[in-house]
């Protein structure tokens, strides 16, 4: 169906081999949006799923929905492809386990239209756990898996952990992130993913930095709400500590890359403190210190390889 007018908002749902019942709930969440369908488009970016989603997912309910196939596997290629395909100036990223509240798109659009200075924003992510997570994990560590409970708006025009938007449900201005999508990031991805078998979650951080570089706000607001479905495989300790390690490693890697430093470094004092924690903390504290040290080694190695590749 051809539309003469551009949509106001593009929803990018990037997925690879999704859990079917989760994807159905995500799509139902989108179907229930209060924003009229004519005002937003839906891009279902299939990141080379083994059974192509075009064959199994019916998007006939939405007149502005499209299947997009991105053959290059990885979060960055899929998210960047969505940017290139999007028709609207405001984009909302929805993961294949994010069920948006019915007013999510309407609120996001209103926020961005009323505040031209907002560049990159996310909201509250309420968890729906398939099984109970480990007791120690509840609370302060839940942010690892994109669970955030907000009570007030948190915005800044500089980088700060409190205002750092989260990738799940992220709303972003397309004009800001388009240069990133047009630049080839494949080498960075390949370098990290090949060597360590993990994806560097750099796309969210890069979107935030792009907004900050453009002089805009990044932040989080409780007025945007979604439900984050968290399956049992994502709640065992092995996965959680691995995720923590990857997050720290990629954060260090990205910081070094942005600072154009010669290497990822750790001061002797910092190393000494980590060793002390390794010796004297409780079980979780010891494990976290261990993962931070491992993350440092991973990031240092990855950064060296990246520099060799980019020379």
């Amino acid at each position: 169906m051809k539309h003469s007018e551009k949509p106001d908002l593009t929803v990018a749902l990037c997925t690879r081999n999704p859990r079917r019942e989760y994807l159905d709930r995500v799509l139902s969440g989108l179907q229930e949006q209060t924003l009229p369908l004519a005002r937003w488009e839906l891009l279902l970016v299939d990141n080379a799923s083994s059974v192509p989603l075009r064959e199994s997912v019916d998007l006939g309910w939405h007149p502005r929905a499209r299947h997009v196939l991105e053959a290059c596997v990885g979060f960055c290629p899929a998210k960047h492809r969505a940017i290139r395909e999007a028709a609207a100036g405001i984009m909302v990223y929805v993961d294949d386990d994010n069920v948006l509240d019915p007013d999510y798109l309407q609120t996001a659009l209103a926020l961005f239209e009323a505040n031209p200075r907002y560049g990159c924003v996310s909201g509250t992510q309420r968890p729906e756990y398939e099984i109970q997570p480990p007791a120690w994990f509840r609370g302060e560590y839940e942010s690892w898996i994109a669970v955030r409970h907000l009570t007030r708006d948190l915005f800044s025009n500089f980088w700060h952990p409190l205002s750092e938007p989260c990738g799940a449900g992220m709303v972003v201005r397309r004009e800001i992130v388009l240069p990133i999508a047009l630049r080839s990031e494949a080498m960075d991805q390949a370098c990290f993913e090949k060597n360590f078998g993990v994806r560097p979650p750099t796309e969210d951080v890069e979107f935030s930095h792009a907004a900050l570089d453009a002089g805009l706000f990044v932040g989080q607001t409780p007025s945007l709400r979604l439900r984050h479905l968290i399956g049992a495989p994502r709640l065992n300790e092995r996965y959680l500590f691995g995720l923590y390690r990857n997050n720290i490693a990629t954060g260090r890697w990205l910081s070094a890359r942005r600072a154009k430093g010669s290497s990822v470094s750790m001061s002797p004092r910092e190393a000494f403190r980590e060793v002390l924690k390794l010796l004297f903390k409780d079980r979780i504290g010891r494990r976290l210190a261990w993962e931070r040290l491992m993350a440092f080694l991973i990031a240092r190695h990855a950064y060296r390889l990246w520099r060799l590749n980019t020379r």
Binding site: R152, D153, L154, F155, S156, H160, S163
Partner: protein, 312 residues
Amino acid sequence: MNMYSLSVILCSHNPRPDYLQRTLDGLRNQDLSLDCWELILVDSASSPNLEGSLHLTWHPHLKVIRNDKPGLTLARLSGISHAESDLLVFVDDDNVLSSVYLSRALEISEKHPFLGAWGGSVIPVYDTPPAPWLKEFEHVLSCGINIRDSWSNLPTISEPWVIGAGLVIRKSVSLTWAENVQKSPVRMNLDRQGTSLMGAGDLDIVMTACDMGLGRGAFKDLTLDHLIPPSRCTEEYIERLLCMNTASIEILKQARGLPMTQPPEQRSLRSLVQNLLLGVRRLRMGRIARMKDRAYRKGLALAHGTVSSKTS
């Protein structure tokens, strides 16, 4: 409708006459027309009275208020209650505003309606060349240069760092702060009183803006000179100031329900090891680093002592 665009509140307690004169000259040189702003001079229990010793007839909209009880918070509250505009600028008696300060503050107010409190770069101006070590402590003396415009509404103490010297706030923020601070004895005592060097009341005002959903900002082209006499450049004074700054920030954190920095544990194997390591570290430190470390620890202990005595 308000009569003025802006109210300048100048709080002073036993000022150095030449510094106060330079502060007033700075105000007189503003490029904003005198009819657009009022000057409120709060004499905070100075001896002798300031009113008699100053020539202030150059300003057509002047109010001089006398507080018999000293204290910066009380002085600010008096100034707020007499202000007749929607924008308030706090100036200390040793701050010389750049000639465009007030007009720039007004511009920011119009351009950034989401901000509730903002400030600028505070440049230290010494009577005598300072010792090289003092450079490290300029932030303790309320000085700092902003290299870019930054703003946020984060409920933190220092991001971005906006202080009382040249602080610009909206009337709504000042009224909310005044109402809250009068209900809380702890917050009432967060600022200078006589010879006490407590000094976190300004941060409390700035954080009030964030509580109200407004932002706070630090701007690079809003500048003022902070006049610093030799008596404030001694190691002894800096140590005392650093100690009181640390203590008042910790007390502010407690009053606002933010996590306080914990002092080292007492009487445990861990504290023994820590003290041994600290002793070794101090031996290797220079004199100034030792002073800084000592002041910080004293400040923490003082804050925790004050808080526990208030709660018990």
